[in-house]
Symmetry: C2
Subunit: 558 residues, 2 copies
């Protein structure tokens, strides 16, 4: 059992040159675009050459509703990938990139933990291969071109009050949430109120992650609705003429990034859309490329299964034409206890009854995932304080639902700790049980799609929306957007819209505060409650203690 | 004679793997951090290992005042580098990186032209190795932390009216020049008026380009003055606690980028500070690294010699402890004609008298450069329409000043066209004539430094500044900043502050509109006239025609 910190373990990693990692998947050195010696992009021509190959099996890792106890979803994704390689399968993992801005607020983004990590950790929390910077540039070029169009005569007749395209920055900067631009007179344009979101909230990010290739990316960029005329006719990015230049800015960013786990297994880390106003999954390009190269691809979705897995199934899989062969739901004894009413400070004491009381949250997620037609296995991510009786309680509960829970010790042991999980995943995937089907058909009405998710996944008894929201949805249906899937923006901490309600509640209302159309990404966002798209820094930001030490290592980032 | 466009020539380049280019300078593959196969950063430990080596000879390429006819300074820098290699010298070139934002307005930034170019051209005009994005992030982190400090209680007592640190974006976006932030009530902070500059105008850019190493970078970042208290006491970046995290964001960006010329010779392309409110030279790190690795290092400075060479000598050389062994002043027959009063439309016709009438502009620059104690050679950058009589007129004029003008055909012929220039430069550099001395001593008063530049370089008869400017300069002297050099922000088109006055005027006033302190970069900026730090896009921005073609090439960027 190690007592080293994640960053200490990451720094001691025996990294192999990225060309060796690529070779494990049959990618030649000439088909990798290196960024330093331990990161590379997989070249587009090579990806294009894979088209005729069969796909490997896709495994989704999702989780219970997150609690302050931590569930370890990314850690389990990495651990399972290593475990599959350990038992002789050619496996790769696919996860999201970290956002730079929040690293300077609270803490760096995780790429696993303990002995189940992806490296190079520091670079992945800083600029990495520049994808997010490219997205920021593309997004802001469009914004500059909109104001420039208005400045030079506004031939498209944009209603300056109805410009819906804001700007983005990969930074936690509350001062930019709500601003007035173009002050200073004639040379600076027409003043209007707007603001900045954080880059991961950009529709360009969602588009990059859903695009099937560069041509599809450019088409989707063109479809973005940026403003409306006084008659409420939409103005698109294509009308502004920015789609081509944005695609140029994104031509490298769309190529998936390859790095490695601590055990030198291949990991694709690509894209990072918000899991609330967007779908929260790594890129389709990375997932599909990995499926062509590996027999098993382990990926994850943001937040708990009610949000993350639901969007993975109904948005990403539906749109990309892919389907999971098995799903791993991550749970911890500690999180079950918190769902059972135990406070974080009291998690150290054995409490089997609380574990049992919290299990229905897990049960609900298992049931939901199965409703998509895919087999489920539960991974109990082991913490050193878990007692045998507590673990047994989870195992028994899951067995009662006709599934299996496997204790995993990858945090402490690496792939040795996920051997059993890997074997169980292989058995499920090979069983042919999976008959994936999305929750709702394309041709269901937009409001009915929201209702279906709310009632069948969250177990709400009603969806509450005022007439403005309903008429907006009907307008979009009339305009040809009715076949889009719905992207729910809801708290991740509860099945309800109240983050304090744990467990498995039933029979509550889901209020829809606002709906937004992401015509380029290809979904309608339904916002339930407050959604923050530009975070702020805390009173003592992490940045104050981040610096390079005398050895050239980054201190304070984690 | 080629009729291919620059981009066509660049695409046909027979590029060698960047490791081969590094090997020419003795840089091992392990000491290069590759970015793709044709770009790399030179690793910091390798640079540190060079400390004891002797320096090669530094050659500065500067020019007459730019005219719409084009003088070809970067092209000549590249051509001379190739020419030196051709005659058997181990030579490298050092130039600046291009800014992304302006590429979407008028045209892409040049990296030479014809058969004297640096490649990969497209990448160098897009994200390149991410240096400018890193500078943008570091700059804006400091901005976010300043507003965050005020938000959480303002323990430092910052006067919100006196926050002088703006934000930056690498984009031409006039709407961001003048904005009000923090609207929307309590959670978003205290509203105040501020704005964005383009990234190249950031003091962080100037600091990156003047820093001798990472420790010096962090110290200079800490010294940045970001705001003042009500009592006008300065608040620094160090007070805000952002210096360490900013250095972390810049730890890769500070490492020089290595690329290659069309003739596969090494080119360092690193940093790109504004040539008006900053000093307009590539980084000290790149120049010093190149000097350790090559026998000849050819570099350039922004704008004409009155601004670029003056700042190169008085700021960069003084601060970095380097000195040029010879200076090349680039002129063209066409530009001489324009200085002699010919309109651009009439440049096609032979006009020897106009050439002669325009030569005093060149003569003034030659005289100015010689006043720094360094020998000069003039490079006549050949255009196909130049006549023998016109060329002879320039040669005779320069000979009359005791210098030599060499006709160069690198645009059409590559290094074959600069063989003679290269031999002449070697002869001058080996002659030991250079006895470099800055124009003024550190301990001269700040206003006297401005006067010295204005009178001895521009040939003004007076410097006009109101009492506020004078008292500001005296305050800075009292606060210990009196020993800093002065960075002049003046139009590049004329020795005067009126861009329409060509030739070699004398006896005019230089008005100082404003002075600014760049305490981190280490200079006082004297602003003569209007200086635009955030450009706008034109009515038909280049971005509208930029896109990827069916072959995956970028169209419209150049």
């Amino acid at each position: 059992m190690s007592h080293k910190s994640d960053i200490e373990i990451a720094r001691e990693a025996a990294k192999r040159p990225i060309q060796e990692i690529g070779a494990k998947l049959g990618i030649g050195a000439e088909d990798l675009l290196p960024y330093g010696h331990d990161k590379a992009k997989v070249s587009q021509p090579f990806i294009d050459s894979l088209a005729g190959r069969p796909d490997g099996k896709l495994i989704l890792v999702t989780a219970i509703n997150p609690t302050p106890a931590g569930e370890g979803k990314t850690t389990t994704t990495v651990g399972l990938g290593d475990g599959l390689n350990r038992i002789g399968k050619k496996a790769a993992i696919c996860i999201r990139e970290a956002s730079l801005g929040p690293c300077f607020g609270m803490k760096g983004g995780a790429a696993g933990g303990g002995y189940a990590q992806v490296v190079p950790m520091e670079e992945m929390n800083l600029h990495f291969t520049g994808d997010f910077h490219a997205i920021t540039s593309a997004h802001n070029l469009l914004a500059a071109m909109i104001d420039n169009h208005i400045y030079w005569g506004n031939a498209l007749g944009i209603d300056q009050r109805r410009v819906v395209w804001r700007r983005v920055m990969d930074m936690n900067d509350r001062a930019l949430r709500d601003i007035v631009t173009s002050l200073g007179g004639v040379p600076n344009g027409f003043p209007r109120q707007t603001g900045f979101d954080i880059t991961v909230a950009s529709e360009v990010m969602a588009i990059l992650c859903l695009a099937s290739d560069l041509a599809d990316l450019e088409r989707r960029l063109g479809d973005i609705i940026v403003a409306y005329t006084r008659d409420k006719a939409p103005i698109t990015c294509r009308d502004i003429g920015a789609d081509g230049a944005m695609a140029v800015l994104l031509k490298d960013a769309i190529q998936p990034n390859l790095v490695q786990t601590l055990e030198n297994n291949p990991a694709f880390v690509h894209g990072g859309p918000f899991a609330n106003i967007a779908h929260g999954c790594n890129s389709v390009m990375a997932t599909k490329t990995a499926l062509k190269l590996a027999d098993y691809v382990v990926t994850e979705a943001g937040f708990g299964a009610d949000l993350g897995a639901e969007k993975f199934m109904n948005i990403k899989c539906r749109k990309a034409g892919i389907a999971p062969s098995a799903v791993v739901v991550v749970a911890t004894v500690r999180a079950m206890k918190m769902n059972g009413g135990v406070a974080k400070a009291d998690l150290g004491a054995e409490n089997v009854e609380a574990v049992k009381a919290g299990c229905p949250n897990l049960g609900r997620h298992i049931e939901n995932v199965k409703s998509f037609g895919v087999p489920v296995v539960v991974a109990i991510n082991h913490f050193s304080g878990d007692t045998e009786a507590e673990i047994a309680a989870v195992e028994e509960y899951v067995a009662g639902l006709g599934s299996e829970a496997v204790l995993c010790k990858h945090w402490a042991l690496g792939s040795e700790g996920t051997e059993e999980l890997a074997r169980r995943v292989v058995a499920l995937a090979e069983s042919g049980q999976a008959e994936f089907e999305p929750l709702y058909p394309d041709d269901m009405g937009l409001f009915e799609k929201i209702e279906t998710i709310a009632k069948r996944i969250y177990r709400a008894d009603s969806v509450v929306a005022d007439a403005k929201v309903l008429s907006q949805l009907r307008e979009w249906e009339a305009a040809g957007f009715g076949s889009l899937p719905v992207c729910m923006a809801k708290t991740q901490y509860s099945f309800t819209t109240d983050p304090t309600v744990r467990g498995a509640p039933e029979g509550f209302p889901i209020p829809i505060r606002e709906v937004r159309l992401s015509a380029g990404a290809g979904f309608v966002v339904a916002i339930c409650g407050e959604i923050m798209t530009m975070p702020g820094l805390p009173s003592a930001p992490a940045a104050e203690s981040i610096r390079l030490n005398a050895d050239g290592f980054v201190e304070g980032l984690f």
